[in-house]
């Protein structure tokens, strides 16, 4: 009970002070709209292409939505030392970090909702397997958040967190099969693709939205879940090593 009071208050404070602020909310709306619009116009094949584009736009929205927030909720709070307050609180470290990252996970999932709603207005999404789609969105949000956490922990300045996450985010847009199939990449790059969690997430989304996927959906879900676990464990290990040294 006491632990959950702490958990909800940490999450609630982050939501109120960071996520639900107008600049972040509008970023969460505008970013997916801009990406969606750009690829829609570029593809030039009319409303029929929306279903093909949706997985990529959803994935990219989650990726950017989640990773950009950790620089603030973690790196900034570490820098101004308010993070020490959390480290001093009598809560298990794992629960503390879950509370600290849940906001980004929710924010990422909300980001995903924007292109989905847009697409639902413009085209027929009746064929989508919504339960797997939701699970995919959740796991993509979790794995991207924990990737962001790992980055946020590796640096000490906010701008470093932004730069370092771009170093991962932009290549991932092309390497993870968001907008064109991995098979079109040179073979060495394909090998890198399979090392990135978003590849499995994107495969899941493509599979649920328009039926073309490379790995069985259950396998994708499992691998993605394992990535989440590994990234979380690694981040916690890094925090212990670097910040409680």
């Amino acid at each position: 009970m006491k632990l959950w009071i702490a958990f909800w208050n940490i999450l609630g404070k982050d939501l109120r002070t960071y996520y639900l602020k107008p600049p972040n909310l509008s970023w969460g709306l505008i970013f997916p709209l801009a990406w969606g619009g750009m690829f829609f116009i570029k593809s030039g094949s009319g409303l029929g292409s929306i279903a093909e584009l949706l997985p990529g736009v959803v994935a990219v929205s989650i990726l950017f939505g989640t990773t950009s927030m950790l620089a603030v909720t973690v790196t900034f709070e570490k820098k101004n030392r308010s993070f020490e307050r959390l480290l001093l609180a009598p809560i298990p470290f794992e629960l503390l970090m879950l509370a600290k990252t849940s906001g980004a996970i929710c924010f990422g999932m909300l980001n995903a909702l924007v292109p989905v709603l847009m697409a639902a207005l413009l085209t027929d999404l009746a064929g989508v397997n919504w339960s797997v789609f939701t699970a995919a969105i959740f796991l993509i949000a979790v794995s991207s958040t924990f990737l962001g956490l790992l980055i946020a922990v590796a640096v000490s300045e906010i701008f470093e967190a932004q730069t370092l996450s771009n170093f991962f985010r932009f290549p991932m847009m092309f390497l993870c099969g968001l907008f064109f199939p991995i098979a079109l990449l040179p073979v060495p790059l394909q090998a890198i693709s399979w090392l990135l969690p978003l590849t499995y997430g994107a495969d899941l989304l493509h599979g649920t939205v328009h039926g073309s996927h490379r790995l069985p959906l259950a396998l994708n879900l499992t691998i993605l879940a394992l990535f989440c676990l590994a990234l979380f464990t690694l981040s916690l290990h890094q925090i212990r090593r670097r910040w409680i040294a």
Partner: protein, 334 residues
């Protein structure tokens, strides 16, 4: 073992280095339950590092830490429900109001909503911040920030409170009120571990004091015991209104004084001041006569009671000027 007889904190052979810097070099001490224990040392002595080690914010290289009956060496976070920490810098959330900051800190310790709000209001009133309760922390003055940070450290009523230089950066009146509050908390049963570089503060507040220099404890005892050897000494402060020479004349004057009064020891703590120490009562008249003949007008000569500063200087071998004095540091806040 009953809780009464068990120390609140017991530390043995504690060490911590940062690269080549040995911040804490094998420190042993205990703090009794309900005690107000002071750590007194100059900048960089290792005070904050020790607090970080004791509160689980840093891991020791060697040594053991026990808080109550909890072995914090093996389980560094196991005692955190017992601890309250007021860090040396204010580290609350700039974007939250004073009231919300306090409620949030209370929530971290699992306090229910009603209780959080009641305690936050009480503390805001006690720290004279009720008027600023709804304002963002970012807009607080330095002294207000300090006071709210202290309130945040005690809102969950910790059994052991760590105060890292609580009065640094706040004005003299606020510092006095704060010391009253710290004494009150201690009377109400809170064990307090306080670091400071104000000697008078340590002397006025603490029952027991450890002197720390370069990561080592060079002396640790009750204030009364520390002062005991100094009581055998006699001291006099001569304040001159004019005629005190500047260097190199000053050196010359000291030499002449030493030659004329071989039983007395002279130091110049400030311009216009002459400090005299001796093992027997000091006769004032010959001294004043000597100074006046040297063209120095004596305004006042007053007997010095032994202070902790004397003890500190003797034990640490450091100069008097090393440690801060509150009057030099009038803050702008509060």
């Amino acid at each position: 073992m009953p809780a009464e007889s068990q120390p609140a904190i017991a530390v043995s052979r504690l060490s911590k280095s940062f690269g080549a810097v040995r911040a804490v070099a094998g420190v042993d001490f205990t703090v009794g339950a309900g005690e107000l224990f002071g750590f007194l040392g100059p900048n960089g002595a290792g005070k904050t590092t020790i607090i970080n080690l004791l509160t689980g914010l840093a891991r020791p290289d060697a040594g053991t830490i026990r808080v109550g009956d909890i072995d914090c060496t093996a389980r560094p976070r196991a005692a955190q429900h017992l601890l309250g920490v007021v860090p040396d810098e204010s580290n609350l959330y700039p974007e939250l109001s004073g009231f919300d900051n306090l409620c949030f800190c209370a929530a971290l310790y699992g306090l229910g909503k009603k209780e959080r709000q009641t305690r936050a209001e009480e503390l805001l009133a006690a720290f004279e911040l009720s008027g600023a309760a709804a304002r963002k922390f970012a807009g607080y003055s330095k002294g207000m920030k300090r006071r709210l940070t202290i309130a945040a450290g005690i809102i969950h009523r910790p059994a052991i409170l760590f105060l890292d230089e609580p009065t640094t950066g706040i004005d003299v009146a606020s510092a006095r009120r704060l010391r009253q509050l710290i004494a009150q908390l201690n009377q109400d049963g809170t064990t307090i571990f306080l670091t400071t570089h104000y000697i008078e503060e340590a002397e006025r507040l603490c029952r027991r004091i450890a002197f720390i220099v370069e990561g080592r404890i060079v002396g640790c005892d009750t204030v009364a015991n520390l002062l005991e050897p100094e009581r055998e000494k006699y001291g006099l402060l001569v304040v001159c209104s004019e005629g005190m020479p500047a260097q190199p004349g000053l050196r010359n004057l000291q030499d002449k004084l030493a030659a004329a009064f071989p039983d007395l020891a002279f130091t110049i703590p400030a311009p216009e001041q002459l400090r005299v120490e001796a093992a027997a009562p000091i006769r004032v008249a010959p001294l004043v006569r000597f100074l006046e003949e040297a063209g120095i007008e004596v305004a006042e000569a007053r007997r010095l009671r032994p202070t902790l500063e004397d003890v500190f200087v003797k034990i640490t071998g450091l100069g008097r000027e090393i440690m801060g004095r509150e009057k030099e540091k009038r803050g702008n806040g509060g």
